[in-house]
């Protein structure tokens, strides 16, 4: 009942989705149709079923959900290993992003059993009896599990994620005390996987204008950097009913961050800073 860290999976098996119609507010081209079921390989003893979202842009068909049966004795322990097993042994058209396979690059972010996480750091044994793999929520899909991250990266660029300082450059580094450096802890480690932004209901409804937790966490990273000299301008750019104040502290972001970071807290710090300069 009490979650201590974001890598704990939810044990409630009965409340998996909100009680709304399956195709609630789904556009015609996004409607998911029935897919095919791939049989388990012969002689496989420990088999697990994976339901995976598929979309082929060249076929003209709608997205569908295919069911694969993975031989767990032939496959590594993580969900990414299962995806590779399927791609190598069953269906080579299964498409997904991946790179480091150790949870530091953010490429394999996707929706596993209803929550966003990295496929390479989620154990297959932590997935439910009917394991579901969908792409990151509320993203335009290029193919299968590959989302189009152009807009969220544009929102990231919009907050000017670089040092803004008018003071003349020092001979060596811009100095920072250990205490000032510790202010960056918990914010600089973000790998921009966008699990949090993709899991934020406010970003679902207003993602065109609301910046989202990942971008706002990075905005705070630059606000709290003692070497930065543009705090006022940064806060001006953020103080907007949509860019910042669509956040209603829902906290899905903190719950889902695969690096254990706290975007909700960062956003609260931004609001507090803006509130303080008003008083």
């Amino acid at each position: 009942m009490i979650i201590e860290s974001s890598d704990q999976v939810s044990r409630f098996s009965w409340f998996k989705r909100f009680p709304i119609p399956r195709n609630f507010k789904v556009t015609r081209e996004s409607r998911i149709e029935a897919g095919r079921t791939w049989p388990p390989s012969a002689g496989a003893k420990r088999v697990k079923a994976f339901e995976i979202y598929r979309y082929d842009p060249d076929s003209g068909a709608n997205p569908r959900v295919d069911t694969f049966h993975v031989d767990l004795d032939d496959c590594g322990p993580m969900v990414l290993d299962a995806l590779f097993w399927i791609k190598n042994k069953v269906d080579s058209t299964l498409t997904f992003r991946r790179s480091c396979r150790e949870g530091v690059c953010g490429s394999c972010a996707m929706n596993l059993d209803g929550t966003n996480w990295l496929a390479c750091t989620r154990f297959i044994s932590d997935m439910g009896a009917k394991a579901t793999i969908y792409p990151l929520a509320n993203m335009q899909i290029i193919k299968d599990l590959v989302p189009d991250l152009t807009h969220v990266f544009a929102q990231y660029a919009a907050i000017e994620p670089w040092l803004r300082a008018k003071s003349p450059e020092p001979e060596k580094e811009r100095l920072q005390s250990p205490q000032e450096r510790s202010q960056l802890d918990g914010y600089y480690e973000c790998i921009l996987c966008f699990c949090c932004t993709s899991g934020c209901p406010s970003h679902w409804w207003n993602g065109n204008r609301f910046l989202g937790p990942a971008v706002l966490l990075q905005a705070w990273r630059w606000l709290t950097d003692s070497r930065d000299e543009a705090k006022g301008e940064r806060l001006d750019a953020l103080e907007d009913p949509f860019r910042l104040y669509r956040c209603h502290t829902i906290l899905n972001c903190t719950r889902t961050c695969p690096k254990g970071l706290n975007p909700g807290k960062a956003i609260a710090e931004i609001k507090k800073a803006i509130g303080e300069r008003e008083e």
């Binding site: 990266f153 544009a154 660029a157 207003n206 065109n208 204008r209 103080e239 907007d240 949509f242 803006i274």
Partner: protein, 128 residues
Amino acid sequence: MNRRSLRSPLARALGLGSAKSGVLHWWAERTTAVALVPLCLWFVASIVAHSGSDYAAFIAWIRSPLATSCMILLLVALFHHSALGLQVVIEDYVHSDVRFAAVVAIRLGCYGLAVLGIVATLHMALGG
């Protein structure tokens, strides 16, 4: 490229720029919330304490200066908080041009109802 718009992704993300406002709404929501905690608890406690009493007892209760003041403050804080909250809800879910009209209508409705409640309270407190 068959894109609907040739605007760059950065331009789309920047939109019309920052409004550079929003903190006053944030402060008002918190101020009214803090005011509502004791006022609402007073109201609920009064209702609970007076449950089952008749009209005369109710009028006697609301006539006391403390009760009248608290009721008026409650109505002001309640409808201001409600207007702010409903505005946020409409901004979240309504994306067409109807949004502006809806926000105006909600605000006017809330303030109108607040005035109605205050006048009714004063009528009972000051009337014969």
